[in-house]
Amino acid sequence: MSTETSSKHQLHVLPVSTYLGVGAALLVLTGITVWVAQFHFGEWNLIVAMAVAVTKAILVALIFMHLLWDNKVYMVIFLSSILFLGIFIVLTMFDTLRRDDIYDYVDKPINPNAIIYQIDSTKTPAASDSTAVPPGPAH
């Protein structure tokens, strides 16, 4: 072991209180999101739950995963995965929700002989009305 190499390793050691603080914050946020979910605010339930989840995710990524102090290239890699996930979901939603703005949307099963549809029509009472048909988007 040379002193030269060990002096190069300036290990970044966080105080235990930082970890405990983040852990406590994550538990409190979990409590908040469970508590808020009892009330019904319509669309706002989704927004509040996702805002809390994103806050928790940022805490975990920045502090537990050490992104705040590490080489920023890791942050870029991580953010690019989120970016492409966003593109993936947003463009898919544009397609599936707005398709009937362009042409008449005709509901029909992709594969009418699919085994799920046959079982559904005999077993699930609520599904007897055109189980096979994905509903068009709400108008």
Partner: protein, 215 residues
């Protein structure tokens, strides 16, 4: 320069120094985590599409999930992330006994998560809330409730497989720590497993509200 004398034990031949070796490992790990985000991303996309198509069915079906068990599992997984982070910190300051204990707690909490998941799954299998053609439950209003459970089992199932994988890695780390493999100069496997474990926690942070709370 006397190469043999200077060479740290765990430095592979193709790296200039320990610093470069560790940074390379981290770079590879983050690319792997990127592919993990995209793997789960496909399932999150399926969730978004079907939730948009069948909002009422999702709302009715999500009430079948046990919020209490989901909340306990969230607390368990967050605590395990904390103990994992502390295990790394203990190794940084050369307290191997502490690392051992923290790894042990992390493993125990991961096991607790899987046991609770087992009870949830058993109940659903018992009442027939199963994916696709195996679905036979009759108490949920709205069309195609089997889709909710297909997505539920795929997402929590893939996540559960990750938890089991993480448990194997943590057990291996405990074995290596016992054998005195790690030191403040070399603890890369603990740090990489930590990154993986935090990602598993991150994914659960999103799965929990999406399935248990807002359906």
């Amino acid at each position: 320069m006397n190469h043999a004398a200077e060479h740290p034990t765990h430095l592979a031949h193709h790296f200039a120094d320990m610093e470069q070796q560790k940074e390379s490992a981290k770079l590879g790990m983050w690319f792997f985590l990127l592919t993990e985000v995209l793997t789960f991303g496909g399932l999150f996309c399926a969730y978004a599409v079907y939730r948009a198509w069948y909002p009422e069915m999702f709302s009715n079906a999500h009430r079948e999930l046990n919020v209490m068990m989901g909340t306990i599992n969230t607390v368990v997984l967050i605590t395990s992330s904390l103990t994992m982070a502390l295990a790394i910190r203990s190794m940084q300051i050369d307290r191997k006994n502490q690392t051992m204990w923290y790894l042990f707690f992390t493993f125990l909490l991961a096991g607790t998560f899987m046991v609770i998941k087992y009870f949830e799954y058993t109940h659903k299998i018992h009442v027939g809330q199963l994916p696709g053609k195996f679905y036979s439950f009759e108490g949920i209003e709205g069309s195609n409730p089997h889709i909710f459970f297909s997505i539920y089992f795929m997402m929590t199932g893939l996540h559960g497989i990750h938890v089991l994988g993480g448990m194997c890695l943590i057990a291996w780390l405990m074995y290596k720590t016992r054998k005195n493999t790690f030191s403040p100069e070399y603890y890369t496997p603990i740090e990489m497993t930590g990154l993986f474990w935090h990602l598993v926690d991150l994914i659960w942070i999103f799965l929990f509200p999406l399935f248990y709370l807002i359906g």
